[in-house]
Amino acid sequence: MPGLDDLYQQLILDHYRRPRHRGTLSEPTIEVDQQNPLCGDELHITVRIVDDQITEIAHAGEGCSISQSSASMMSDAVVGHSVADALAMIEHFRRVMHGEIVADETILGDAIALEGVAKYPVRIKCALLSWMALKDGLINGTPTAQEDQ
């Protein structure tokens, strides 16, 4: 399906089939639940922060290939970074999804593979779900009902 190869890149399918950082941390610093209002998918993110560094992160819950692989790539990207760096990455990713800027691989890592999602407006919410959950968690320590789009 050549039309969809841009959306479903091998790297995405790979993260979907073998998600990194899958699970739930015990005694996390931050814990967030986020729902995709479009399809009802639920995501559970746990983060451990030590000295303002994200030392560990895990994601659980069900979702489509895009939301699951995105959670996996996001976790890969932010782990080991400071909270401020993670927030900057999230903002970068959000703007990429909204087609405002071109993705920077040095910032996003594998998540650069999600750039093609920007062309599928309905799926942007799927890709953003985990990033917005983390953002809420980092800022509020609590989830919000909706991603800010």
Binding site: G3, Y8, L38, C39, G40, D41, C64, S65, C126
Partner: protein
């Protein structure tokens, strides 16, 4: 009216521009009519002709153009009332089925419900049959109780009877045909049982009126809601049918032009039915379009429409069951269900299914279908849903099955 003729989808498709083959020979396999139907040319032409030849505001105009507009508008109402055997005075235009249910919740419920009164809904309701009652229950202190579903996607009738007998149920708000499970509920029977306990019944007929003969009088319910855009009609119009005796005793809902007999600075008097519940300029062109849709449906024959649905559903249940691991929700007997087929593939999320089969021009819906309590009861977040109508044929089902196989293969690459 019985119609010997069966539906000929090939012939029917000629009336739908969007379903015509493209130059390359591809055509859209539209399997999302439970979300909204396509519109036949007759409906679009009736609306266009209204705007180009008869457009004026209705009801008060003395000049001939306004009379012509009023007649076409009221002809639409008559066609709707005839289609579902409803009293004309109780046939009220709303903007969609959702407003129709809200009208009852706000105009009847808010002024009638008392603390601890019970409104019975079901786990298989569309959000539009749940949220209005939750809002009004919160304001009145009433309680919303959900009739559970059985594992095979039917209502738990024992629970219903037990609750009717033991709780102060004032209203039963229930879907006729589920937009997710396809379940056809025995509404006439439930009405009789609810009435025996003094409860009123609202039937959400959004998924039945487009697909089968439905009689307001025959069901015997107090209110019935449905929506234009799912029954070949335009967006922007829905219908609430109510028993005139009950509507007459109700306070109005929306206030404004058209619904008054007199307005004074110290208060107002209400117009007669149905105008009392139609505030402001009504959906005029939309009534004309919906009237044309009713006539189109009647000319096909609702019995034939339903027979076609059963035929396609039978075929689809068989064809989908062949797919490895595919799980179908709802009743197995095609005679007991409507045309909405929700399913799950273990290795493909509904979103990905919808995205991938779209590549083969197959349109199916993915998500919670505005039925989150049902999703929870089924233990899933979302399903994929294929739903058929008069323009679909077995080729369309075959196309879906082929596309599902291709989707699987693609993801396994």
């Amino acid at each position: 009216m019985t119609h010997a003729a069966l539906i000929n989808p090939l012939r029917v498709r000629q009336d739908f521009s969007l379903l015509a083959p493209t130059e390359g020979g591809a055509r859209l396999v539209y399997l999302d009519s439970a979300a909204t139907s396509q519109k036949p040319n007759a409906v679009l032409e009736a609306m266009d002709d209204y705007y180009r030849c008869a457009n004026a505001n209705v009801h008060r105009g003395v000049y001939r153009l306004a009379q012509e507009a009023t007649e076409r508008f009221e002809d639409g109402r008559r066609a709707v009332a005839e289609l579902v055997a409803a009293p004309l005075a109780g046939t009220i235009f709303t903007k969609n089925a959702t407003e129709a249910i809200n009208l009852v919740a706000w105009a009847w419920g808010l002024r009638t419900l008392r603390p601890n009164d019970v409104v019975m809904v079901t786990e298989m309701e569309h959000h539009s049959g749940i949220v209005p009652w939750q809002i009004v229950a919160k304001m009145t202190g009433a309680e919303v109780r959900f009739a559970p579903i059985t594992p095979d996607g039917e209502l738990d009738h024992e629970w219903i009877d037990h609750t009717l007998a033991s709780a102060p149920v004032r209203m039963v708000s229930i879907v006729h045909v589920s937009n997710v499970l396809g379940t056809v509920n025995p509404v006439a029977d439930i009405v009789a049982r609810a009435h025996a306990h003094g409860a009123l019944v609202l039937v959400d007929a959004s998924q039945s009126v487009p697909h089968m003969p439905v009689s307001f009088a025959g069901i015997g319910c107090d209110f019935m809601a449905f929506t234009g855009h799912k029954m070949l009609g335009p967006t922007g119009i829905g219908v609430l049918v109510g028993r005139p005796e009950i509507l007459d005793g109700m306070e109005p809902f929306l206030g404004g032009g058209e619904m008054i007999a007199d307005v004074r600075t110290d208060g107002s008097d209400w117009a007669d039915l149905p105008n009392k519940f139609e505030a402001g300029t009504p959906p005029i062109a939309e009534s004309v379009g919906l009237g044309a849709a009713c006539i189109y449906l009647s000319s096909l024959g609702l019995d034939a429409v339903r027979a076609h649905e059963v035929h396609l559903t039978t075929y689809a249940l068989d064809a989908l069951s062949e797919i490895d691991g595919l799980r179908i929700f709802g009743p197995r007997d095609p005679a007991r269900r409507g045309g909405a087929l929700s399913f799950h593939l273990p290795d493909l999320h509904p979103h990905d299914i919808a995205q991938l089969v779209d590549e083969d021009n197959v349109c199916v819906r993915a998500g919670h279908h505005c039925a989150k309590p049902l999703m929870r009861a089924l233990g899933v977040n979302a399903t994929a849903r294929a739903s058929t109508y008069i323009y679909n044929d077995t080729d369309d089902i075959d196309a879906l099955v082929t596309a599902l196989h291709r989707a699987r293969a693609y993801f396994a690459r």
